[in-house]
Amino acid sequence: MDTLYAFFVAPFLDIADSPVFFIEVVIGGLSAGVMYSLVALGFVLIFKASGVFNFAQGVLALFAALTLVGFMDWGIPAPIAVLMTAAVMVVLAYAIERLVLRHLVNQEQIILFMSTLGLAYFLEGLGDTLWGSNVKRLDLGIPEASFEIQGVLLNQFELVAAASAATMVAVLAVFFHRTRVGRALRAVADDHQAALSVGIPLKSIWVVVWSVAGLVALVAGIMWGTKSGVQFSLSLIALKALPVLILGGFTSVPGAIVGGLIIGVGEKVAEVYWGPVLGGAIENWFAYVLALGFLLVRPQGLFGEKIIERV
């Protein structure tokens, strides 16, 4: 009886008791969710355009952040270093297309998935060899102070993160819907062969997509790297993006954003209010269970298209 009370009644009383704190938890969840979305976006872009479930996205973020810090250590000013890193990511995208993807056209999805895992190993080793494996401080001068509005604690850094995510989504939306390359991308996403037959160069499109994903990884790497220092663990943020992906759908950009926010808020609320009952540290699996519960109702994800199967 006590357990049932602790599980079904006490948390809600708690919420009603201090609504300000509840708002804080929700805001905390939203800001965590934005960070997840940043990573999930990279997955979605690549999956949408090439059907590759790119597990190396986390490592791409690590690699980008490592490169950026490396450049800055050479005394290059931050804005130029960011541009240089962006250039490196584009070169990397080209190399990946040329050396890996081109040879795997028409393979099954799981093979492509595994090849990105191989890529992840490779980039990990490369990043470590080039830049060393100590924790590096990444400081682009983003303000980090906290302030309170009506008793609700807010953090400047999180606001910046949210703003940059919003900007990025807006830019991507324009890119996808208003530019020639964007339209070509959508065509490729719909049907490889049809796109080819109307003269869209599949190979260069893939380079574009991987470059964009590389740039998204750079932004994610900057945000996460500022928070925790640039180090190997940065590559593990990929795991945080996976529940977001199944919730939002593998192919939907808005899904990645909304999914991220739902997962962020869901897991924080669960951890803060239900964590103590269950012994704590539940947020990792709770995110997956939340997404799973959602999937059972809507197998195509939040914004995914309805799956129609024919024999």
Binding site: E24, V135, K227, G229, Q231, A281
Partner: protein
């Protein structure tokens, strides 16, 4: 096409087979093999690298001066990546290495230590898990081959509470205080919990345990809970990226840094530097000094690094974890010297080094001779006690370096030791181990 593939594969496998034939070994004069299980790769590499460098540099210094009583030490690094099964592979590979086998294993991972504890009984090689591993191994009557001096997580937790009591103006003042233990959600992180619970009962403070799952990059929920609780003190047993994020998050909720104490794996340069100015004032425990102001460090610079034999960057000398590698090797080489006093000056077997560890008596005078006066506390190991409830100091990050802010705090042996003996007795019963009498006969 297919045939070509086949030939290719055939060639690959032939090369592959060749890889497993062992490389030629150069016969040399009498030397001892000291395996060094390190992790310079993977998620915990930032912590593993300075430690490994300290180990390597100190042994290079000892060798540059002729070795231990003239016997050179061959340090063999084996990369584990903090992975248990790789650690076991390293152990199996290195245990018989050299003329008389490995001298002693320093697994540098609680998980690997657990694997090795039982294997070492069979292979007769001692394991020294310095400040990590199975705390119950402190009872040398049950754990003959395992050592965890100078101190353990349980001792550390009691010392921290003692420090907090001192800061609050006496242990009696702890009553009603709120203390949070933010810990890595793993056997390592949970290690301090039982001791803290006992102490909470004894002194009447309110203990809240907040676990953080591996790897711990996202701790919003944890720190929101801290914000709501407004605890008087936060103690942290973190590891890797978890520490850096925790310090940042603590700063983000404006938690006073000088009330935030990390354990000795959570208070290193790697933990505070990425957090920048936010980390100033953060405290941590240590069982050895920080910085490179000792004569031994100068000697390492002159006799090792200047000769081009240094393992890491020169700036890394004197970092907290570097120094931990150094003190680990001081214990090891001094135990070898002790053993040579009994068994003669020769390459020592694992069993002989074990005797040396058990009879180690590192005095303040000896530390001074080694150029490390005041660097660590003097220590004397015995058959009963493989841990010694060694004292801990609190250090504080001043924005540039770690400085000691307390004297040596002696842990509450009266609380910790009975727990250790109980855990060891349970283990002995479960494994049907004969308890040693410690009268010199076994």
């Amino acid at each position: 096409m297919n045939l070509r593939k086949l030939t290719l594969m055939g060639a690959t496998s032939a090369v592959f087979a060749a890889l497993f034939s062992t490389a030629p070994v150069v016969a040399a004069e009498d030397y001892m093999v000291l395996p060094s299980l390190v992790y310079r790769t993977g998620a915990y590499a930032p912590n593993g690298v300075p430690f490994a460098n300290g180990v390597s540099d100190y042994i290079a210094l000892v060798n540059a001066r002729g070795g231990v009583n003239g016997i050179k030490i061959k340090l063999i690094e084996c990369e584990t990546g903090y992975k248990t099964d790789v650690g076991v592979e390293c152990y199996e590979k290195l245990k018989k290495e050299g003329p008389v086998g490995a001298a002693v294993f320093n697994p540098l991972s609680t998980g690997i230590t657990y694997q090795l504890i039982e294997k070492t009984w069979v292979d007769k090689v001692p394991v020294h898990s310095m400040g990590y591993g199975r705390t119950a191994a402190a009872d040398g009557r049950v754990f003959k081959w395992t050592f965890n001096f100078p101190t353990s997580y349980w001792s550390q937790a009691s010392a921290v509470i003692k420090y907090i009591g001192g800061q609050e103006g006496g242990m009696a003042k702890l009553k009603g205080k709120k203390i949070v233990h933010v810990h890595h959600n793993s056997p390592y992180g949970k290690e301090a919990n039982p001791t803290l619970k006992i102490l909470a009962e004894k002194y009447g403070f309110k203990l809240t345990l907040l676990p953080v799952d591996h790897p711990g990059q996202e701790q919003k929920a944890t720190w929101l809970q801290v914000r709501r609780l407004r605890p008087d003190w936060v103690f942290m047993s973190g590891w890797g990226v978890m520490n850096q994020v925790a310090i940042k998050e603590a700063a983000a909720i404006n938690y006073p840094m000088d009330k935030f104490i990390g354990n000795w794996w959570s208070s290193t340069e790697s933990d505070v530097v990425p957090a920048g100015g936010a980390a100033t004032g953060y405290k941590g425990t240590a069982f050895h000094g920080a910085g490179d102001s000792w004569p031994a460090h100068a000697a390492i610079k002159k006799e090792v690094h200047d000769k081009g034999k240094g393992a890491g960057p020169r700036e890394g000398i004197g970092e907290v974890l570097y120094n931990r590698g150094v003190i680990n090797m001081v214990y090891t080489t001094e135990a070898m010297r002790t053993a040579m006093g009994k068994f003669g000056t020769k390459a020592l077997s694992g069993a002989e080094v074990r005797w040396g560890l058990e009879n180690l008596n590192l005095t303040a005078a000896r530390l001074k001779e080694l150029g490390l006066g005041g660097f660590a506390n003097p220590i004397k190991i015995s058959c009963q006690d493989h841990e010694t409830n060694g004292p801990v100091r609190i250090q504080q990050w001043d924005g540039k370096k770690w400085v000691f802010v307390s004297e040596w705090i002696v842990p509450m042996a009266d609380v910790v030791r009975p727990q250790i003996e109980m855990a060891a007795a349970n283990y002995a019963k479960e494994k049907k181990i004969a308890v040693r009498k410690c009268d010199g006969s076994d």
